[in-house]
């Protein structure tokens, strides 16, 4: 098994939100690199060093389940962030563009609250809608003036 295959196996067996999952896998990758370097310095072949590193790490199902539990509140926050993003995009944004300057504050708060990748995407989508609607409102105003 290569390091990348092992990381893929971990990724498939983890149920934690995207940013935390990516960070965790990077953390494990650097941990494995240290193990491998250590075994290589002791004279082991690359293949054996990888095998020993994975065995020493011993990331079993019980540990992965423990990690899922630790990150469970983040999943909940992510879902709340996603829901808040949805409400903003389709219900609050069209009203807020009437009050100049208030919407970006909502957007930043949304980003701060969103811990999930989906929540982030919805927040970005919200910003796009706000931008498009603002531009449209400006054009209408310009047409009225002229």
């Amino acid at each position: 098994m290569t390091i990348q295959e092992y990381l893929k196996y971990l990724e498939c067996n983890l149920d934690i939100p995207y940013p935390a999952r990516r960070d965790f896998l990077s953390e494990i990758e650097s941990h494995l690199d240290d193990f491998i370097r250590n075994y290589r310095e002791k004279g082991f072949s690359k293949e054996t060093a990888i095998e020993k590193a994975i065995s020493e790490l011993a990331m079993n199902q019980e540990i992965l389940k423990d990690l899922d539990e630790v990150h469970a509140p983040m999943v909940l926050t992510g879902l709340i962030g996603t829901f808040a993003g949805y409400i903003e995009a389709f219900h609050v944004a069209p009203q807020l563009i009437q009050k100049e300057g208030s919407f970006p504050i909502w957007f930043v708060s949304e980003i701060a609250l969103s811990t999930s990748f989906v929540g982030m995407l919805v927040a970005l989508f919200t910003l796009v809608i706000w931008y498009v609607l603002s531009a449209k409102a400006e054009r209408i105003e310009h047409m009225r003036v002229s």
Binding site: F24, S30, D33, L57, A58
Partner: protein
């Protein structure tokens, strides 16, 4: 200290005590525990991660990514103020636990 879960409490105390000295990453923590206890607490390194992530989520420790030149970036952990207080509370709870257990064992040996 979570005496209901001795294994987890033990790992937490070991991790917090090491981080009280200096910031460290996962691999260092695992090796240091092994070296300092002469293999008595020879943990499988993977078991450290739920402990580290739980302490981080509770605000007891703080993770920071540090670029290591040619090496890949590593996540270093350091103790927070809340973590320091928690560590002291943990050590005191362990001392109490050991003393109570020791009294109990001595009584039985009589």
């Amino acid at each position: 200290m979570d005496v209901e879960n001795i294994k987890r409490a033990c790992s937490e105390t070991l991790v917090l005590s090491l981080l009280a000295e200096k910031k460290m990453h996962g691999y260092d923590i695992g090796c240091e525990i092994d070296a300092r206890t002469k293999g008595y607490f020879s943990l499988k390194h993977g078991t450290l991660y739920p402990v580290l992530h739980r302490l981080e989520a509770d605000g007891k420790i703080e993770g920071e990514w540090v670029a290591g030149g040619a090496d890949k970036p590593r996540k270093y952990y350091k103790l927070t103020k809340a973590g320091e207080a928690y560590r002291e509370q943990n050590i005191s709870a362990w001392q109490n636990f050991i003393s109570k257990l020791s009294i109990f064992v001595k009584e039985l040996a009589k």
